[in-house]
Assembly symmetry: C2
Homo-oligomer: 300 residues x 2
Amino acid sequence: MITILSGGTGTPKLIQGIKKIYDEEEINVIVNTVENDYFSGVYVAADIDTVLYTFTDMINEDTWYGIKNDTFITHERLAEIGQAELLRIGDKDRATKIQKTLLLEEYPLSEAVDIQRKKLGIKSKIIPMSNENSEIKIETEEHGEVEFHDFLIKYQGKPKVKSVNYSKVNPNPEVIESIKKSDKIIIGPSNPITSIMPIISLKGVKDELIKKEVVAVSPFIGEEPVSGPAGKFMSASGHLSSSIGVAKIYESFLNTLIIDNKDLDMKETLEKIIPNIKITNTIMKNIEDKINLAKLTIEN
Amino acid sequence: MITILSGGTGTPKLIQGIKKIYDEEEINVIVNTVENDYFSGVYVAADIDTVLYTFTDMINEDTWYGIKNDTFITHERLAEIGQAELLRIGDKDRATKIQKTLLLEEYPLSEAVDIQRKKLGIKSKIIPMSNENSEIKIETEEHGEVEFHDFLIKYQGKPKVKSVNYSKVNPNPEVIESIKKSDKIIIGPSNPITSIMPIISLKGVKDELIKKEVVAVSPFIGEEPVSGPAGKFMSASGHLSSSIGVAKIYESFLNTLIIDNKDLDMKETLEKIIPNIKITNTIMKNIEDKINLAKLTIEN
């Protein structure tokens, strides 16, 4: 059994590789929930839905959000009648969100997601990090404190970031159970500050990770994240925007850090922080790349 | 200025005729709200939306519900993932319902609808009968008390009806104002029990109707309603299922009742109940039928 810690883009790519080489029933995925919120009257758990769609091969790989080949009839009509939505929610994707919203009237998030993944025929367990509502805000130089989704969409991730602040929530009990039962924990190449740290800083998680074999894939090549605004968030949180910054964040529990071939020159420095450094191609352009990287995380 | 009292099917057909021959800015429509409820997380005001779509020529004339040529992508996907919706909500139609739901977080229903009709470019005022939530239940022989929409959709209007029961609510103040300001009140050929009576029995409405010129179009031909389950509801409420039953219900305030040519034999009896009986074709198959009937309601 393995447990994967996931955010919304890099880790799902890695999951596409892992599910090709590992028994789906033996994979648990703990997913970040701090970005979850209500939009247009529906509960949006963007990272969870991305993981659901990754397992069912429905994920839109252009945006790593929503369902591929989805239509946007309701979304476009809402704009026409003066009720434009911040998030671009597709028609099929909206059904997932409506269902989750209705299930949340009766169940905690973890059960709602478990019902959904079973309906979708997914054998892996998808575990929301917390059943509690949370907020994440980005303190910017230009606009002050802004909502996370406003930062990403309205401001297109452009403002200078002063700090990243999210609610402290309690873990869904399945988070600790899953880590305890696993032979290995894989931290995918997701944003360390906004996707992974919220999971790791849950009460009790770090204590369990220390006891386990933990492997992480760095989401950086040089000083640039492979995707998204991770660099800005790293700097604003007082970390180096590079695999060295990632190593320092995960230092207390990480056994193996996988970095990109292009960062060979960092290997020596990294080996002073993390016991085991592996070097490979970490850019996952196609399924072969994903499987190769997956193998390196699984086998060692 | 005229005020039309409307339910969901017959009256909107008549409105299609009236709006061809009368200044749209001089038409107010008071719409039944007792059937309104939340479905799939959105507020559904079916009769109001039917009137909105009738004014914008978007109404689906096969069902008199929803938007013509709409798609059902979210609706069908919800069924696929085990979250089938009772109401068949189209993708464009869902945008109207999402907008109304979001507006209701800030405004009373009457303002939400006023914002929507303005966004849609509708010049007539569409006035919900009440801003209060209500319930309507049908007491059946076979299934006991059932929700109105369950009766119509799940049970396809088939069970024997013992009684019709709806909440007593306070009128939206614009209802009384609109009747007071109008030269004529037109009661469309909607179901007298579930569509019109809830409006008429609002506090103060009957007192104002008595002072006004009121004309109604009967929704019956012989003992059969032109559409829907009006006959069952009339019998269960202790009324004759015919234009005579309609006349008795509206007797205290009605000046003119328009009945179908086929009910010529009822004319003599009806003249003992209502001062003025007019006879014409009341089946509105095409726009000419609608305009002819509209003229008879307007001109007298």
